[in-house]
Symmetry: C2
Subunit: 392 residues, 2 copies
């Protein structure tokens, strides 16, 4: 057989394994020290009551012949798609139920959507960014152009009319920077996409952290986005589903090229290469959108946002320049003392036993930045920030 040679071009990511190695070595050398981990973007609170209840009920259904469910529709059960449709409607976005595809998570769909595009597309990706956008296009051998997220543009790069691209990745609220596009900024992106017959792949996995009323939680808050944007969302951060696995992708029926409709292509892709999300997980996801689920998951998000505020406040008090932390669980700050991000990682671990993520892991523009996450207990977050103050 002949293998996909593009895999040779993939860069090995040693980011989290390198972090783990360093932390383990430190802990072995300092067994008495309490290391506080604020590195990985994984939730810490257990699933909420409504979700647990829905799971138990659905498990019972699966154990009885009369209510057992085998193969379900690959694109998701209508009870869940309706709930997602209503969720969007509450945010002022009208969707057709056939535009909603339930999946096992945004990461899968963001990777798999590349199946629908030919190799001959130029792809625009922000730097710094979640590494999956780059890796999945590298696997297909596509040309990638980077756009710089910098302190100057608030890590929110805007379109350059002199650069022509076919596919654009946007993530807002952003991972890793926590920056969030305004509606006016997204309007500019939609305008650029329509002018260039380009497609926007919009990652809104962190939408539930948006609290400023004026900020968009979906790219479809820009009306014409339905002609040029696919949106990926997830319950991982909204409801702590990182270990339960459920997301959803919106593929509007109005996007087409050369007589081929993206919505129809994605349906064909999913029905051919996917068999749907477990019934019990879909019931759990549906509970997230119920009255109790909404209030319970909002409390979870509020807990993390409180931690983010504690971190942000510390950054302000210590005069550290930072981004995010308001509409995001991430705080992205400039490394103090002119250090690069790996130097600062070592310094912070050694001096105060706090672990974060070096910005260099997200692209060259992260070299002098550092990511802390709000996914922790209030006690740990407070203690870590007390320790941080002693550094500065």
């Amino acid at each position: 057989m002949k293998l996909n040679e593009n895999y040779r071009e993939l860069k090995e990511s040693y980011l989290f394994s390198e972090v783990a190695k360093k932390v383990n070595a430190f802990q072995a050398a300092n067994p008495d020290k309490k290391v506080i981990r604020m590195g990985i973007g994984d939730v810490t609170l257990p699933l909420c009551e409504s979700v647990i209840k829905a799971l138990h009920n659905a498990v019972d259904e699966m154990g009885r012949a009369e209510t057992f469910r085998g193969y379900g529709p690959e694109q998701g059960y209508d009870f869940l798609r309706s709930a997602i449709k209503d969720h969007y409607a509450q945010n002022g976005v009208e969707l057709d139920i056939d535009e909603i595809f339930v999946s096992d998570g945004a990461k899968s769909d963001i990777g798999n959507i590349t199946d629908l595009f030919s190799k001959d597309n130029t792809v625009l990706i922000p730097d710094p960014v979640y590494p999956v956008y780059v890796d999945t296009n590298t696997m297909n051998g596509r040309k990638i152009i980077y756009m710089d997220g910098t302190a100057e543009n608030g890590f929110l790069p805007m379109p350059d009319k002199n650069v022509k691209v076919d596919i654009i990745y946007l993530c807002s609220p952003n991972n890793p920077t926590g920056a969030c596009y305004t509606k006016a900024q997204l309007e500019e992106w939609v305008e650029y996409a329509l002018e260039n017959n380009a497609l926007i792949l919009f990652d809104s996995a962190y939408e539930s952290f948006v609290s400023d009323e004026g900020l968009p939680r979906s790219i479809y808050s820009v009306e014409d986005a339905k002609k040029c944007a696919i949106e990926f969302c997830s319950l991982s951060k909204t409801a702590g589903f990182t270990g339960l696995r459920c997301g959803y992708t919106i593929v509007p029926k109005t996007i087409e090229s050369g007589g081929m409709r993206l919505n129809k292509m994605w349906l064909r892709r999913q029905t051919t290469k996917f068999n749907g999300v477990p019934y019990i997980v879909q019931r759990a996801a549906c509970a997230v959108f119920g009255a109790d689920g909404i209030s319970e998951t909002r409390r979870m998000v509020a807990h993390y946002k409180q931690n983010a505020q504690i971190i942000a406040k510390t950054m302000q008090e210590t005069g550290t320049r930072f981004f995010g932390g308001i509409n995001s669980p991430y705080i992205w700050f400039e490394c103090p003392f002119g250090m690069d991000s790996w130097e600062f990682f070592d310094f912070m671990l050694e001096k105060i036993a706090v672990v974060g993520t070096p910005g260099a892991g997200f692209g060259k523009n992260g070299n002098n930045f550092f990511r802390l996450t709000a996914f922790n207990s209030k006690e740990n977050t407070t203690e870590a920030m007390e320790r941080f103050k002693t550094l500065c």
Copy 2:
């Protein structure tokens, strides 16, 4: 953007929608008649007790902070991979734990594995066959060669040394024909693959239906297969997981080409484009391999196999030529009266209100054959076969 033009080459499958349409029309015209459905290959028994118990326990774990699990390893938790390793060992196959990848089902992995191959491979696919092999390679624009499964070769085509191919799909016990390769036959396939530097993609989703001790349940029962074969398996039919979604894929470390190792590539693919199977589902899957799980799921399989025997016996009594039904839940029979498979579908529905699947839906060699499945109650199966006898 430029779309993947290969999607234009995909044939729309109207098989199951056409079946549903005809059945609905018949039922509307004959509201008093009891239609017995033996068409779709979906299980009917509820999940077994051990699985339900494991699910409830794992759900409780997810509801408590101390035992909550977020992101897991993309390739599956070690507790489940160990159980799968032991399952193989019991069948005489030694695997390294890193060769085992847990997934949300065989269909996903069989589709996604094509990511690892360049477009320039010639693919050999049996006809008749499960349509996913053809469709996923068509999506990538690969050249497909078909090998004929016929009554003469027992629907078990063997290698033709004059035909050179790079990738070979085998499914045994077979869907739709129920035919099962012997070890000697698989040895021939492994020999062919090694001589031609070809890769075998072996679909063993129905392995739990193999009851003849002499028949292989895994391609790795042939020793050299570890140098040339990937195996896909699933708990869908073994334990009724069609709605719970868990499978596993074996990618031996010993397969490489041009210095690239397939095992490492698949790990990279899965860690980049997949986020693992829900923790609760992995606990359920693990229960299938426990002592209670084994005996409970064997009873489920025995139930379906009893139905298969009822069908097979009817075929014998009516002098209908058939395949499968012994080591498989499928019975594949020649349409009586020289009818083609759609004619027979209409005839059987009209005369005895029994639904099956026309063989034409699986390829040209299925034109005069018909598939019935054992996934039903004993009562329905018996009644359907009593009705069948009146036809002949």
